[in-house]
């Protein structure tokens, strides 16, 4: 079975750098940038559990499944 792949986007206007997402990610995908905003440092490790999305109090994170990848076709 093909491993699902995900993309994490962080809306920097909304992110307050609280680190909730970073702390709750089981795969340690996210980190805090120099601008004190969360960013997906290891996006390829994301398993799409959505914990970051649920725990973000600021609606800054969106996790989307990457579809239509040429490898899968």
């Amino acid at each position: 079975m093909q491993k699902k792949r995900f993309m994490i986007t962080v809306d920097e206007r909304l992110c307050k750098g609280c680190e909730n997402c970073i702390n709750q990610c089981p795969k340690k995908v996210l980190e805090l940038s120099a601008k004190l905003k969360a960013y997906p440092a290891r996006q390829e490790d994301c398993i799409g559990c959505l914990r970051c999305e649920y725990i973000c109090p600021d609606f800054a994170i969106t996790v989307t499944e990457i579809k239509g990848d040429s490898n899968e076709n």
């Binding site: 206007r13 909730n20 702390n23 109090p57 609606f59």
Partner: protein
């Protein structure tokens, strides 16, 4: 994916919200919006009412008919809205002090009266906005700005209070038990009568910093360690239950909703009419 749904119900130009970085309230707001989405209600048909406090800023961010009222009075305003226009879906958000201190009387009577209002109590154990004074839910011995030597007040158990006052749907969850919280709120919204969901939020800024839980992470870990499903909680002995909080649905029984009862039992078109009103008030002014 989920964020898109949440944002579609928010007034995006009002974001970012005023809550502190990491605050549980934002997490609850997201959960609420996903639950509302699941009901399929139209934004125009929802009234979201609040009182005063951090949680009560919620309506400002939500694209419904929104009302930010006076301290403790959310449910009283909500009663007027729901009873006068039962077509509207009415949600009332409150903080702990808002709901059961200054608004305690409205809370118990709303539960007794049983208008179809969903009361969501964001309980962060503290008066956050005013600087960390203790509330009626602040745990025993906890430190607040007005309990510098530890709290000696007994605290309210909100679900017990709601059940005692007659609410038909009573549940508790926490800000960190998402997406389970989505489902509990959804069930509360769908309940035809007065429903209460106590949602344990967290305030690391005012409560946590005084009680050795000064980061969101430490508060989240603390909540994880104390919250457990009702069934698991009930298996514990009395000693073990101390410092634990049962979460889940405590009560969910069908009841007869107040405004429907009023329409059915009080507004009787066959009743003989006052002679003056017959002549002066022919027109029906609004739809029931």
């Amino acid at each position: 994916m989920k964020t898109e749904i949440v944002l579609s119900y928010l007034r995006k130009d009002k974001l970012p919200h005023i809550w502190c970085p990491g605050c549980g309230h934002g997490i609850i707001l997201g959960s609420m919006m996903r639950a509302v989405h699941k009901t399929g209600w139209k934004k125009d048909d929802i009234a979201l009412v609040s009182g005063i406090g951090c949680s009560s800023r919620t309506p400002g961010y939500v694209d419904f008919n929104t009302l930010h009222t006076t301290h403790g009075r959310s449910l009283a305003f909500a009663a007027g809205i729901k009873f006068s226009n039962p077509r509207l879906n009415v949600i009332s958000v409150m903080g702990d002090g808002d709901a059961v201190a200054i608004g305690g009387n409205h809370f118990i009577h709303a539960a007794r009266r049983n208008l179809n209002i969903t009361a969501l109590v964001f309980n962060n154990y503290i008066y956050g906005m005013t600087g960390g004074q203790f509330s009626p839910t602040t745990p025993y011995k906890a430190i607040a700005s007005t309990t510098p030597y530890g709290n000696i007040d007994k605290n309210f158990d909100i679900p017990s209070l709601a059940i005692g006052a007659g609410a038909g749907f009573v549940a508790r969850s926490t800000a960190i038990h998402v997406p389970g919280l989505d489902d509990i709120i959804y069930q509360a919204l769908n309940y035809d009568g007065f429903s209460v969901v106590e949602i344990i939020s967290f305030c690391h800024v005012q409560y946590g910093k005084r009680n050795k839980l000064k980061t969101p992470l430490s508060m989240i870990d603390w909540l994880k360690s104390i919250a457990l499903p009702i069934a698991a909680y009930e298996k514990l002995g009395e000693e073990q239950r101390r410092d634990k909080i049962p979460i889940g649905i405590f009560k969910n029984i069908p009841t007869e909703e107040y405004s429907q009862k009023y329409i059915k039992e009080i507004i009787d078109p066959n009743k003989s009419k006052d002679s003056i009103l017959k002549d002066y008030c022919k027109a029906k002014l609004y739809d029931l």
